[in-house]
């Protein structure tokens, strides 16, 4: 098993997303033709099949849709972190855009509840990748 945190491989269609995360900015992919937002990023717009796209910055403010507390056996890097909370958050700017990220617990896991209002922060993994995570407002 890998000892390091598994990191996202960067591809053409999500390069800008990760570049912006490294600058502590959350950006959402939009169709360059019909302007429909989509997540996760992908090659083609599922509404109009356009391959042109651009990126719009959002606040990162979100509501906790659900969360889990994984317990060992996990990948070694997460065994060491356990217990931690992984959440699925809904962005306030969009219905139906949900993103996975860790939820900061401040050593108080029991305080985390579905419906919590959250704000974004970023954890730098290396020079190319920073992962979004969420903090209680």
């Amino acid at each position: 098993m890998i000892e390091t945190i598994p990191i996202p491989g960067i591809e053409d269609f999500d390069k800008v997303y990760w570049e912006n995360c490294s600058k502590n900015k959350l950006t959402i992919q939009h169709c360059g033709d019909c302007n429909e937002a989509r997540f996760p990023p992908r090659h083609m717009c599922p509404i109009c099949q356009s391959i042109s796209h651009d990126w719009k910055e959002v606040s990162g403010d979100a509501v906790l849709w659900s969360f889990v507390i994984p317990r060992p056996p996990l990948l070694p890097v997460f065994d060491k972190q356990s217990p931690y909370v992984v959440g699925l958050v809904e962005l306030v700017e969009y219905e139906n855009i949900r993103i996975i990220g860790q939820i900061q617990t401040n050593s108080n896991i029991d305080s985390i509840k579905i419906g919590d209002t959250l704000t974004i922060d970023f954890k730098k993994i290396n020079n190319e990748i920073s992962l979004p995570y969420w903090v209680k407002k």
Binding site: M1, I2, T4, I5, P6, I7, P8, G9, E11, F39, P40, P46, W65, S66, F67, V68, I69, P70, R71, P73, L74, L75, F78, Q81, P83, Y84, V86, L88, N96, I97, R98, I99, I100, G101, Q102, I114, I125, I129, L131, Y133
Partner: protein, 382 residues
């Protein structure tokens, strides 16, 4: 048309165990031999094969070990837990359309060893869709399932106690089944509530077993089936299903994440069938994790959204309930073989030879994984 043209006429398996000192190919050969023996069909009559893309025993090795004749059809179905009914349905379609006459579908798996867990082979860099979840520590299928059940329990006001009823109901079936890995292990609510958490809110008993073994089935057209020794389990309806915006195991980004691909499969299956959910006598529901049972019962329209756990707690899926489910113990308590044990149990129910037999079972539903693209089959007796 596929309806009522083919039947499952043979079932076979190896022993089930946490660890079997044998190869997957050896186990596959034994299970297939047993299935053909059960059917009363000579291996040289087999001309079609169906398996899982996750299966590692190749068709030609199977064919030359068993002594099959010339093959005219084979196919593989993707997505692990979503594959069993699709592999069977595809072979049934080939037989119904006249491409072949006698088909074998098998799954052989050595999964008891923890090093065979797929998530444990996560790469340093992830290029598939798991790049959007695994780096944050949502690593295993159980974590991915746990996300949905916590939301469901919140939305419909359920406690861990209510979820425990799923694992406890299935364990009772396993206690009556001499083939089940958990035959001698009893489970009550106290055991459940005290169990070790694997991915909170899911505990040890919400997870399928890790086991070694193989299962095979034999499918023929109805003309051949009627001349054989066993009562045929007729394939009445079959469909696959993948919903809009589906994302494998992490279907979090479409409309409602609680509305899975099972809703698509179910809707098409009931349209193709002469029967409605209330007429079904027994169901075998894919259960890698316990939440998949309430989720699937709702998707297949046995009850309305949010109602399944309440009905399970009222006894719905027990042997004296309205819809007995996973009557051999399922993946949680009999064996985990990507759901192939659910298929053999459905056939036993139609034959009247199950260890927890439903009286006069004529219609048996088999489903596959609620969290992947999936498929389902409705079997009927004569």
């Amino acid at each position: 048309m596929l309806k009522d043209k083919t039947a499952i006429v043979g079932i076979g398996q190896t022993e089930f165990s946490k660890s079997i000192d044998s190869t997957e190919l050896n186990l596959a050969c034994k299970a297939i031999k047993n299935a053909l023996g059960d059917a009363g069909i000579s291996p040289d009559q087999v001309d079609a094969l169906g398996s899982f893309t996750y299966e590692e025993t190749p068709e030609f090795e199977i064919a030359r070990n068993l002594g099959f004749g010339n093959l005219t059809y084979w196919s593989q179905a993707p997505y692990g837990g979503g594959a069993s009914c699709a592999a069977i349905g595809q072979v049934a379609m080939a037989i119904a359309s006249g491409i072949a006459n006698v088909g074998v579908v098998w799954r052989s798996r050595k999964r008891g060893d923890p090093s065979s867990r797929m998530w444990s082979h996560t790469d340093e860099k992830i290029f598939d869709h798991w790049k959007w979840s695994r780096p944050s520590g949502l690593v295993r299928p159980v974590d991915e399932s746990s996300m949905l059940i916590r939301r469901y329990m919140h939305q419909y006001d359920y406690s861990r106690e209510s979820l425990g009823a799923v694992a406890i109901s299935l364990r009772k079936y396993a206690n009556a089944n001499h083939e089940a890995l958990m035959q001698h292990k009893f489970l009550n609510l106290e055991d459940y509530m005290e169990a070790r958490m694997i991915s909170d809110p899911l505990c040890l008993f919400d997870n399928c077993l890790e086991s070694d073994g193989a299962i095979a089935i034999v499918i023929t057209n109805l003309d051949i089936a009627k001349k054989l020794q066993n009562k045929p389990a007729i394939i009445h309806a079959y469909s696959q299903g993948m919903n809009k915006e589906h994302q494998l195991m992490t279907h979090y980004h479409g409309g409602d994440p609680l509305e899975s691909s099972s809703y698509v499969t179910a809707s098409n299956l009931w349209n193709l069938s002469d029967y409605s959910p209330k007429e079904i006598d027994v169901a075998q529901i894919y259960d890698a994790f316990s939440p998949m049972i309430p989720f699937s019962l709702e998707a297949y329209n046995f009850c309305s959204k949010g109602e399944a756990l309440k009905l399970i707690n009222d006894g719905l899926i027990n042997i004296d309930g309205e819809l007995p489910v996973n009557t051999s113990g399922g993946s949680l308590s009999e064996v985990y073989l990507h759901g192939m044990n659910l298929v053999t149990e459905a056939v036993r129910q139609i034959r009247g030879s199950a260890t927890s037999q439903v009286n006069n079972a004529k219609l048996a539903l088999i489903t596959t994984c609620d969290a992947t693209p999936n498929a389902a089959i409705l079997l009927k007796g004569e």
